[in-house]
């Protein structure tokens, strides 16, 4: 499984959406991605990539695309 697939799956599992929808998501754009859902997404991403994210980065993770940027620049995940 590629890193992009692992990354997308974290959104799919956390928010119960399909992969295509996941790629368009932004924070609070759907009911499931609220502050509680954000904790599930964080746990899924940290588990998928075996990382521990900084609180500031977790707060900044405001969209599917922004999350890719954070993971690649700060946690060495290549997409």
């Amino acid at each position: 499984m590629t890193n992009l697939e692992k990354y997308t799956n974290a959104f799919v599992e956390a928010f119960d959406v399909d992969a295509e929808t996941a790629k368009t998501l932004k924070y609070q754009a759907i009911e499931a991605w609220d502050s509680v859902g954000h904790m599930g997404l964080t746990a899924a991403l940290e588990s998928a990539f075996d990382i521990m994210m900084e609180p500031e980065d977790i707060i900044d993770l405001s969209s599917f695309e922004k999350g890719k940027e954070i993971l690649s620049t700060k946690y060495g995940v290549e997409f």
């Binding site: 509680v36 904790m39 964080t42 609180p55 500031e56 707060i59």
Partner: protein
């Protein structure tokens, strides 16, 4: 701060500044029992005034808004920590003790109100690990100051959640039962199925007159919540 009387003991309730989490404090002859601690200067003054040296801490569950006062207390007092085995396992790992939900809430308020409280909060609340002294798997009786406390695992909001009944007169429900607020089971480790199967029957069986000391919000009698 407000107070309630339970079997002749005063129960002090302190509400946290950031997300309104309740900390309950009971004091008897230089010892204190604290449920779900968070840092609070008024509580610290009360403990100093009562010459408290030893503190027993009960946790209703492992979420950081209910545990963030443990390291704060341990810096100042001799503390014995009591919680479920599953909560103990969670809080033993600093990864699980990041106050992320609180930080998210503050960040949202900052964005909405144009304030900038988040950096101050993050500088004050770092990661921490908690060592548990007494834990239970399927339930436990614990005596403090001549009072009987019965711990019952109540999963659903989190894996390590429990309710703590005091002398059949009051119950600390954590986030399993909050006034006028549905239980949240969507956090990692939460489960609506487990809540409905194990915790709801426990809550439904509580007597009408028992005082509910909830994890957030106001204190109420069980009959008011039916």
């Amino acid at each position: 701060m407000e107070t309630h009387q339970v079997d002749g003991l005063t129960v002090y309730r302190f509400e946290s500044e950031w997300v309104g989490t309740n900390m309950y404090v009971l004091i008897r002859r230089g010892e204190a029992l604290i449920v779900d601690p968070h840092p609070d200067e008024e509580a610290l003054s009360l403990l100093a005034k009562e010459n408290v040296k030893d503190i027993t801490v009960f946790l209703t569950h492992e979420h950081p808004d209910h545990t963030c006062g443990v390291p704060w207390l341990k810096k100042r007092f001799k503390v014995s920590l009591v919680c479920s085995e599953l909560a103990a396992k969670a809080i033993g790992n600093k990864k699980n003790n990041r106050p992320l939900t609180i930080a998210m809430s503050i960040a949202e308020k900052d964005r909405k109100n144009g304030t900038n409280y988040l950096p101050k909060f993050l500088s004050e609340f770092g990661e921490y690990e908690c060592h548990t002294d007494v834990m239970f798997e399927s339930g436990m009786e614990f005596y403090w100051g001549g009072n009987r406390f019965v711990f019952t695992p109540t999963p659903g909001h989190s894996k390590g959640s429990c309710c703590i009944k005091m002398n059949e007169e009051a119950v600390f429900t954590g986030d399993n039962l909050i006034w006028d607020t549905p239980v949240i089971t969507r956090f990692p480790g939460g489960s609506l199925d487990e809540f409905n199967e194990k915790t709801k029957p426990y809550l439904d069986a509580l007597p009408d007159d028992i005082l509910v000391l909830a994890g957030h919000g106001r204190v109420f009698k069980m009959r008011e919540a039916r």
